[in-house]
């Protein structure tokens, strides 16, 4: 993927954008989480969401994905209507009864075979060689890694990740940073809710929610 990073923008050009949000207001269970929130996600950009537990990070991601209906505000997608994107929630969308390869193979066929092969993806998330094991036999962190594999088997320009590093070891955290860097290098954008420090090598802005 290093080759692709040649497509990085000339320093003084304003990069095109994936998404522009203005005046977003969201409430849950009758409680207002935030109002008048503006954000923009450019190409080659990673937006980190931070904030205390209950600040509204996951809710914001769900609202951007169209799962929750915001009270107010507009989402502008340059293409016109919303493109397909990758959404990784708190749960990793892994089927314990299927093998690792079957899990990724399924997502590849359903989301479109526009990314790596399952085998390559497993390598990339550090589960190489476990293809034939049932996912139910994985540890918590290994399961999370398998969940990350889903992002790699189909290419989507926008990633919405909710605590991708949950229950990952130190190696896993750097791995996630690497995946994000590679994704950004190909012009993709990512919005990542996290409590960990991701050492990102690519342009990243941080949005703090729920300031006390």
């Amino acid at each position: 993927m290093a080759a692709m990073s040649l497509t990085a923008p000339p320093p003084n050009a304003l990069p095109p954008q994936h998404l522009e949000v203005s005046g977003l207001g969201l409430s849950r269970g009758g409680r207002t989480l935030f109002e008048g929130l503006d954000l923009r996600l450019g190409h080659w950009e990673t937006l980190l969401l931070s904030g205390p537990n209950g600040a509204g990070k996951s809710s914001l991601l769900l609202a951007l994905a169209g799962v929750l209906r915001p009270d107010a505000g507009t989402l502008r997608w340059p293409g016109g209507e919303r493109p397909l994107l990758h959404l990784l929630g708190h749960e990793s969308a892994v089927k314990p009864r299927l093998t690792l390869a079957e899990n990724l193979g399924f997502w590849r066929s359903v989301n479109g075979p526009t990314g790596m092969t399952p085998g390559a993806a497993l390598e990339a998330v550090g589960l190489g060689g476990l293809d034939r094991i049932e996912a139910g036999h994985l540890s918590a962190g290994q399961t999370r890694r398998l969940g990350l594999g889903r992002l790699l088997v189909s290419r989507r320009d926008i990633w919405l990740l909710d605590e991708p590093t949950a229950s990952l070891d130190a190696g896993g955290v750097t791995l996630v940073a690497g995946l994000l860097a590679a994704h950004a290098a190909t012009g993709g954008g990512a919005i990542v809710a996290t409590h960990d420090e991701l050492a990102l090598t690519t342009p990243a802005t941080t949005l703090r929610l729920g300031l006390p």
Binding site: S27, G29, G30, R31, T32, D71
Partner: protein
């Protein structure tokens, strides 16, 4: 999330339907409507009991008809109202439609229960049994089950906006299905046994029975509208109350 969030569109209907406006115009309507209902009931009952003949074979029990038929008719009419409201919820996302659908369900269940009750009361003297798997009776019973299921569904989901849309899906599925149920049940019964059981047929009725019946039909229908307005108002007030209290809890 507050009900008044829905921006009133220019056309008069949605202006009337805007929750705020609704609370405004519905209040003055209540009293006159109530009086009219009372008057019609008085009239209808007077006809029913003192000014209509006893049936030559059913005797005075025929008078049950004046309660039974209107309820039976409302049991179907109310569902129609709910179906329309559900369209309003799904297509126009109108908050008042949610409220109407929710308020109508228990009323419909009530009228259906009355239809069943009066019907089986009537059945006792005429057929010597409280219950007969007659097509019409059975389809009413199934309808009753559907009402109860919908009520249970309303109670199962606490987020009222979500509840409204999910219930709307069910209500519409039911709206498509109920004619099929009615038809299938009639067909079923007549298929399995000869039409020996007397199926009550309207047209054979003399006018002396029809006038009071008609008055009672109108009276009950208006009664339904009255109750609907009242419970819609209380529902709206209730929702405003909890969205306030929820904000309070959240900020705590």
């Amino acid at each position: 999330m507050s009900l008044d969030a829905a921006a009133p569109k220019p056309n008069w209907l949605s202006r009337l339907a805007h929750p705020g406006a609704f609370m405004g115009w519905s209040r003055p309507v209540l009293l006159p409507l109530g009086l009219l209902v009372g008057l019609l009931f008085a009239l209808g009952l007077w006809f029913a009991f003192f000014n209509s003949p006893a049936d030559y074979q059913m005797g005075d029990t025929v008078r049950i008809m004046y309660v039974h038929v209107p309820n039976a008719w409302l049991s179907q009419f109310v569902y129609g109202v709910m179906a329309v409201a559900s369209l309003g919820t799904l297509v126009w996302r109108h908050p008042l439609a949610d409220v109407a659908a929710k308020a109508a369900a228990p009323l419909g269940a009530g009228f259906t229960a009355l239809a069943l009750y009066t019907g089986s009361l009537w059945g006792r003297p005429t057929w010597g049994t409280f219950w007969e798997w007659d097509g019409r009776m059975t389809s009413t019973l199934v309808l009753f089950f559907i009402y109860l299921g919908i009520i249970a569904l309303w109670r199962a989901i606490d987020d009222q906006l979500r509840a409204a849309r999910i219930v709307a899906v069910v209500t519409l599925v039911g709206a498509l299905d109920i004619p099929i149920i009615k038809f299938s049940v009639d067909w079923w019964n007549t298929l399995h046994q000869p039409s020996s059981i007397l199926t009550p047929s309207g047209p054979r009725m003399p006018g002396s029975l029809l006038t009071p019946l008609f008055i009672m039909l109108v009276a009950f229908t208006l009664l339904f509208l009255l109750l609907l307005l009242v419970s819609m108002r209380t529902e709206i007030l209730r929702r405003r109350a909890d969205s306030l209290s929820r904000q309070a809890v959240g900020s705590a």
